[in-house]
Amino acid sequence: MNQDVPKGVSDEHPEERGTPIGRRVFLGTLALGAVGVVAAPPLQRGLEGFLGGAADKDPTGLTGLLPNGGGFRYYSVASSVPRKNAGTYRLTVDGLVDRPATYTLDDLRALPQTRMVRDVQCVTGWRVPDTPFEGVRLSRLLDAARVRPTAKAIRFTCFDGTYTESLTLDQARRADVLVALRMQDKDIGHSHGGPVRLYVAPMYFYKSAKWLSGITVTDEVRPGYWEERGYDVDAWVGRSNGRDDDPTS
């Protein structure tokens, strides 16, 4: 008998083996998780404020890896995405139009540019406040293409070869829908969907298709990539996908 063993705590006699602290830790962790879910909204606001401030002063960029610490998150549904530049990028406008067109990056840059500053809101919860976007109003490209009277909707395709999006014609003609060339006052980089992406300000960010390469005018709405996987087609911020975020416009 090892004399260090206090009487009654021998490991081999279950009925007299001390306090059930393990069970308390287990149940305590569960309870803390539940409290976390209930207390999340104020906690999240506080942390985002703190981390947003810390990220501005953080030269390592490590805060960007913390949950919601750095704003944008990279989402791609394709295995790899080709890179396009001013020499190789093309945007086609076709479908139910009288004047189909193909634009180069320089063509788009030569058109009047609109700058907007709105919040970016992802349907999964993250938000990047006051993000400037700049580009050509989609309505301008549609007007130039002369949309036929039978047209009802737009289908967007992307040069990642996989992603698609949709808007009704009325939504597409809104003044806050851009074919965006610049974000945060910089040319849009590859990882943010550059050189050209869609920007649908009043809707969740999955509507703002990255790596935009095709605008096809159709006679009905064809649901896009995530919409075939359960997301709402009309993705107004605060009024869809079971969410009530503050509207972004």
């Binding site: 083996r17 999340a40 999240q44 995405v81």
Partner: protein
């Protein structure tokens, strides 16, 4: 015989884990590994950019997470496994001594008394079991979007993200400590440990 002098006799090794327990550990570790790797591919921008295929990675992550508690739940049918759960649950005065020494970074053997599991292992086991179920619950809320009221989903995301980070750190500690102790790893791999190791690391354990 010279052979016997070189290698310790078979009786010098004592049984620590049954084959069933080792399989539980292996399958749980594999599922947890899939969860961690897929989570990294969904979360870390550089990895997300490299891997892409978001729909596929999400599906892998969801099913691995759903399956994660299954091996342990199935093992509850085993009496030996339940007996070890009992050992992990119960804390005696010696565990208090061990924890106090750990807090003061006191590494002397005499101040780290432990039975089959030391107090650190007991805390880890209880916490990771609870944390796994919290991840499962919040994960299900994000997966089945119509299961819970609106606001809950953002809150579930918040808890899921921060707990994932915590689990990542704790899990790294778990793996780091295993890497630092080959005999302890051999115990999980072969089920047996040397008697000297058992005496040194777990002096109150009588196998």
């Amino acid at each position: 015989m010279t052979l016997r002098a070189d290698t310790p006799p078979a009786t010098a090794r004592v049984r620590r884990f049954t084959p069933l327990q080792r399989w539980i550990h292996r399958t749980t570790a594999a599922l947890m590994g899939v969860c961690v790797v897929t989570a990294a591919c969904l979360y870390i921008p550089q990895l997300a950019e490299l891997v892409g295929r978001r729909a596929l990675v999400v599906t892998l992550h969801e099913w691995a997470g759903l399956a994660l508690p299954v091996p342990v739940l199935a093992a509850l049918a085993s009496r030996v496994f339940r007996a070890d759960l009992g050992r992990l649950n119960r804390f005696g005065p010696h565990d208090r001594t061990w924890l106090r020494a750990a807090l003061h970074r006191d590494k002397r053997r005499s101040s780290r008394p432990a039975a089959k599991f030391n107090a650190g292992q007991k805390l880890y086991a209880s916490w990771i079991a609870g944390a796994t179920l919290v991840m499962l619950a919040t994960g299900l809320m994000m997966w089945f979007t119509h299961l819970t009221p609106l606001l809950w989903r953002t809150s579930a995301t918040f808890v899921h993200d921060w707990l994932a980070l915590t689990i990542g750190i704790v899990l790294a500690g778990h793996i780091g400590m295993a890497l630092a102790d080959p005999e302890s790893r051999r115990g999980m791999r072969t089920g047996k440990v040397t008697r000297e190791w058992a005496k040194r690391e777990h002096p109150l354990w009588r196998p």
